[in-house]
């Protein structure tokens, strides 16, 4: 099967599956982000720029995290792995999905930067003028609002290149380390599949933060130049290398990763309820039974909810210790709130909630709703609320 044939089939499936085109999702996501940046930019030009960078990092972190799901953690991976489709077409189809997601994220972050183009020209000039430059004659170099906006768009463009090309290349390389050998040799599969792309993503974000001085200046310094050109070059090199290797490894990657998942998910560690779950259940009256069910199933089906919750907790705690500015706290809390909304949706769908079974049981709909609310509230309080309160206290 050629790339063109595979893409034709995938397009039919995705067109029917998807509610909104990804670009439209990008536009819609960009509007509230732009409102946030606009709000922060009222404080100062620098605050607006920092808020935009925080928004961009969160948005592209989400895009980076989605890359393995475009490549191999797919619901059809087991079926595709059985069929004689070459690694090249499989990689091309996956790369197209990554590129589309990266483009949508780019559109969202570019729209989020639009308020920066509408700032007062004098304020932008004051904020971006190069105080180290002392010309003998003429104006001090500084940015116009349009150039200020374009600097931000350029950073978004580089991050989009990373999301669409570099991270897919890294993810394919990480997965190729698992190809061949037996399961016994692959006990660290989860670590390899998670840690290598995670480290690459972290490296890119640290680079973006280091390069942020360029956002408020008109000259490319060493750090920002290294970041802009380094990531762009690495993105192209990574995708060329990955495409070169794809015919040999991509079909094996799809098969091996889906097989590993199947084998890993077949084994479940069953642990007793935590003290917190028991305490919450004791407060819920007739909602205790559905709460205990939800809590047990969420812990087993979505262990990542607790890992990411712990990341949010640690991040907010560190930000508190470092007296981080409120915009950063708002961004992290906002990202956590978005994730909590995703978890709330998971709570209402199989395999956590089975509506047909529930409707046959003597448990009221109100009790089921209270159980889910209790789970989300306790998750939010433990992982976000407590460290956020600490960080806000420190910030004030």
């Amino acid at each position: 099967m050629t790339t063109r044939q595979l893409l034709r089939w995938m397009r039919v499936n995705e067109r029917r599956q998807r509610g909104l085109p990804s670009l439209l999702v990008g536009v819609l996501a960009g509007l509230p982000l732009a409102a946030f940046v606009y709000w922060r930019a009222q404080a100062s030009v620098e605050t607006g720029s920092t808020a935009w960078l925080a928004v961009a990092i969160v948005a592209f972190a989400f895009a980076f995290l989605r890359v393995p799901f475009h490549l191999y953690w797919r619901s059809d991976a087991a079926l595709l792995a059985q069929l004689p489709i070459g690694g090249g077409p499989l990689f091309d189809a996956a790369l197209l999905r990554c590129a589309r997601a990266a483009l949508a994220t780019f559109v969202a972050t570019a729209i989020a930067a639009v308020p920066l183009a509408l700032l007062d020209a004098h304020a932008v000039h004051e904020a971006t003028r190069q105080i180290t430059a002392t010309p003998f004659a003429g104006d001090v170099p500084a940015l116009t609002p349009l150039m200020f906006f374009l600097h931000h768009v350029a950073i978004a463009g580089v991050l989009a290149l990373a999301a669409g090309l570099l991270i897919p290349g890294v993810v394919v390389w990480a997965a190729s380390l698992l190809v061949g050998g037996s399961v016994a040799d692959r006990t660290s599969a989860g670590t390899i599949l998670g840690a290598i792309p995670g480290a690459a993503g972290a490296f890119i974000f640290v680079g973006a933060i280091l390069a942020s001085s360029w956002l408020t200046g008109d000259l490319i310094d060493e750090r920002s130049g290294s970041f802009l050109f380094g990531v762009s070059f690495a993105s192209i090199a990574a995708v060329v290398a990955a495409r070169h290797a794809a015919p040999r490894v991509m079909d094996r990657i799809l098969r091996d990763v889906s097989a590993l998942d199947r084998q890993r998910l077949a084994h479940l560690d069953v642990r007793p309820p935590t003290a917190l779950e028991r305490a919450v259940a004791a407060l819920l009256g007739d909602a205790a039974l559905p709460y205990r069910k939800d809590a047990r199933l969420m812990r087993r089906r979505y262990p990542m909810a607790f890992a990411l919750g712990a990341v949010a907790f640690i991040t907010l705690a560190i930000m508190g210790l470092a007296h981080a500015a409120r915009p950063w706290l708002v961004v992290v809390a906002g990202a956590a709130a978005l994730y909590a909304a995703t978890l709330a949706s998971r709570l209402s769908h199989p395999p956590i909630e089975l509506p047909r079974l529930s409707s046959t049981l003597p448990i009221t709909a109100a009790a089921r709703r209270r159980a889910k609310l209790a789970w989300i509230v306790s998750w939010s309080l433990v992982f976000v609320g407590a460290p956020l309160a600490f960080a806000l206290l420190r910030a004030s």
């Binding site: 099967m1 037996s182 079909d251 098969r255 590993l260």
Partner: protein, 237 residues
């Protein structure tokens, strides 16, 4: 020989699902894989399809490692892996095109299996039995040498079951090897050339040819009696 399984062992965590299993399947053979729930039948079939990785041992199809034999193996998983947003015709057509099947192969197979009338219906709208039939069609379409069916005949109405049996026999007559797990012993009796019995991850009985014929000659409940005599009712472990 179409398929060879050598000392296959598969572990889920600390639990051993398949324990040093070896078997060979020849072209033209329809083999029935019996065993209690949790015996390792589905795990064996999934590994032979290449969607599970052996902890130890090897699986070859026509002499090549199963990973390199994709396209020669058709697997109807449990539950069937269908693209819910494809129509029946599109789903089977996609698999046919991936396997390089001749134009019209999908339509012919859908017709044989009595699926032509629902060919334009999205897979997500199908009942359990219909999904089983579409999964069977996808497993059989193209030049498949090894057909692996995991409880695929369960949930079929009598017409569909008859069409499935006829189509499977045709595939075997064309040179394919068929290995199917089922608990519907009556359906299997009318179809199988060989009976394999698994228990606790091991093959505990393997009979073919005259041994199967003489077993079936003993009466309609012969396979059930054999099963009961081999497998102690010790409950699920």
């Amino acid at each position: 020989m179409i398929a060879q399984v050598r000392e296959l062992t598969i572990q889920y965590g600390k639990r051993t699902a398949v324990d040093g299993l070896s078997l060979e399947l020849a072209g033209g053979e329809i083999a029935l894989l019996l065993g209690p729930n949790g015996a390792g039948k589905s795990t064996t079939l999934a590994a032979m399809a290449g969607v599970l990785l052996p902890t130890a041992g090897s699986i070859t199809v026509e002499g090549a490692d199963v990973a390199a034999a994709r396209g020669k193996v058709g697997f109807a998983d449990q539950p069937p892996q269908l693209y819910d947003f494809f129509t029946v015709e599109e789903h089977v057509g996609f698999v046919a095109e991936a396997r390089g099947a001749a134009a019209g192969a999908a339509a012919t197979l859908l017709d044989k299996l009595g699926l032509s009338k629902i060919a334009q219906r999205p897979c997500r709208e199908l009942s359990f039995g219909m999904r089983q039939r579409v999964g069977l069609a996808a497993a059989l379409v193209g030049d498949v040498k090894l057909v692996l069916l995991d409880e695929t005949l369960n949930g079929l109405d009598p017409h569909a079951a008859r069409a499935a049996r006829t189509t499977l026999r045709e595939a075997a007559d064309a040179g394919a090897a068929v290995l199917m797990s089922t608990h519907l012993l009556g359906v299997a009796e009318r179809l199988c050339d060989r009976i394999l019995v698994m228990d606790r991850g091991k093959l505990v009985d393997d009979r073919r040819g005259d041994a199967v014929k003489s077993l079936l000659a003993q009466g309609p409940s012969a396979i059930e009696d054999l099963y009961v005599s081999l497998i102690a009712d010790a409950g699920v472990e």
